[in-house]
């Protein structure tokens, strides 16, 4: 499929990327601005103002006062994303999240031959690695939060923050070049993992989403549960499958298994597979395929 065909077939999702940018990233940050207006906060909202990951850190670190404090809306947002994933899948990840959208876009725009891009075809291995990260994230949050190893461990969320970086890129793009002035080792490592290794050199450009995002990992679990309960998910029907493997090549989340069924712990309901193959359908109700 040519880039133009890809663009046309996925026009709604790519338009949604732009909507996500306007909703969360300053100087627009429309959604955050609206929330700040409602709570009477006069700070300048940025992508960093509603952190997608910190509420998860707070929960597993026992920092419940943070959830109920002045940043309650961050927790409400993160829980909203997770709960909605039960019913409609991780649509936020696949359609709106500016961090994932940006790395996927970079991956699609920069023409690096596929042979230089990593793709793990074994969904069980990808899933194991994804939840290995989540286990590590929870372990660090708990050890730091409960003061069991706070001298030896620091925050994963804040030191390795792609949201800050994307916001800095945006601020620089809109005239504030000083936003790109300061780099610390954590931000350089994040740049390497998020955009270079995870974006440019991983097929689909969603390496960060797959292996370093706790909200994405938990949303994947929620989607797995939701699909078993009969809520919206993408399903594969063997009858009309020609075995061309285009679905596997195009899935940005590496969620298509060998038998072409969908690994729900990875799928973000982006519908890329549906756009290249009639065997994939968005379904609701029980009697599901996939896992």
């Amino acid at each position: 499929m040519t880039p133009k065909e890809t663009l046309i077939r996925n026009r709604w999702r790519y338009s949604s990327f732009i909507v996500g940018f306007f909703l969360f990233v300053a100087p627009f940050a429309i959604l955050t601005r609206a929330v700040y207006y409602i709570v009477g906060n006069s700070a300048d909202p940025t992508l960093h103002s509603i952190c997608f990951r910190m509420p998860i850190d707070w929960i597993f670190g026992g920092r419940f006062y943070s959830i109920l404090g002045s940043s309650w809306f961050m927790a409400a947002f993160a829980f909203g994303v997770i709960i909605s994933s039960i019913f409609i899948g991780p649509a936020f990840c696949g359609w709106l999240c500016p961090v994932g959208a940006f790395s996927e876009t970079i991956s699609r725009v920069v023409p690096i031959p596929n042979r230089y891009r990593l793709r793990i075809n074994d969904t069980k291995l990808t899933t194991s690695m994804r939840y290995g990260f989540l286990a590590g994230f929870i372990l660090v949050a708990a050890l730091v939060g409960y003061d069991l190893a706070s001298d030896q461990l620091g925050s994963i969320c804040c030191r390795y923050c792609p949201s800050s970086m994307l916001q800095n890129f945006s601020s620089a793009l809109f005239g504030d070049l000083s936003a790109l002035e300061y780099w610390h080792s954590g931000s350089i490592i994040t740049l390497l993992l998020w955009l270079i290794a995870g974006g440019l050199f991983m097929s689909g450009g969603r390496g960060w989403c797959l292996f370093f995002c706790p909200l994405g990992a938990i949303s994947g679990l929620a989607h797995k549960v939701g699909s078993r309960l009969g809520f919206y998910r993408v399903e594969h029907e063997n009858g009309s499958c020609t075995g061309c493997n285009k679905c596997k090549d195009l899935c940005p989340m590496w969620a298509i298994k060998e038998d072409r069924s969908v690994e729900r712990g990875l799928c973000v309901n982006c519908k890329e597979c549906m756009h290249v193959c009639n065997a994939y359908k968005l379904k609701r109700g029980k009697n599901s395929g996939g896992s």
Partner: protein, 197 residues
């Protein structure tokens, strides 16, 4: 095959915990995040302040530039920052907070990057909204970026000053947190790894 899955799980988990450990190391020397409370007087040693609000842990900052990560020291050694997201009023009366950095040499340029839920006057570094007892400045983010000339980088002590927290109405010094940038020796960042909110 199951061994590969277990290895994948353990490998990424170990990588994540390692990143957490590295974060603690970096948090002591790169963009150190620290807590501020008023009134605390001259903070000469680490202490836990108790008063109208929650207990606040504050300490002098000694940042060893040699302890920074390899990437930072290689790619951008001449720019270092300190940061806070927390200014608490542990006193008994509301106070309008003014901030100043003491003893900054004229050839070290410092950028103030301030975002706050309170109105802020950038020309005087003053929060015009009074901070009530027990409260903290909401959604605060202050980064101080120190542009250090190359010729300072060989000095054993690059910067020896501190953050002054002043009552904007009376000009009384409420808190002084010493900040020192050194080359070699132990650093003492007060909040390893940082936190953003």
């Amino acid at each position: 095959m199951k061994k590969a899955y277990l290895f994948g799980f353990v490998f990424v988990m170990a990588l994540t915990v390692s990143l957490g450990a590295y974060s603690a190391v970096l948090g002591d020397s790169e963009l150190v995040h620290f807590w501020v409370a008023v009134p605390a007087g001259n903070v000469t040693s680490p202490m836990i302040m108790r008063g109208a609000g929650p207990p606040v842990s504050i300490s002098p900052l000694v940042i060893d530039l040699q302890s920074r990560g390899v990437l930072k020291n290689t790619l951008q050694p001449n720019l270092e920052g300190v940061s806070t997201h927390w200014i608490y009023n542990l006193g008994k009366k509301p106070v309008r907070i003014r901030l100043d950095l003491a003893n900054v040499p004229p050839d070290i340029k410092v950028d103030w990057e301030v975002n706050s839920g309170f109105e802020y006057d950038a020309s005087t570094h003053t929060f015009t909204t009074p901070l009530r007892p027990g409260g903290s400045i909401p959604n605060l983010g202050i980064d101080w970026m120190f542009h250090i000339p190359e010729y300072y980088m060989d000095e054993p002590v690059v910067y020896d000053g501190g953050l002054e927290v002043i009552d904007a109405d009376t000009n009384a010094l409420l808190t002084f947190i010493p900040i020192k940038f050194i080359n070699g020796g132990a650093g003492s960042g007060s909040h390893p790894g940082g936190g953003c909110h």
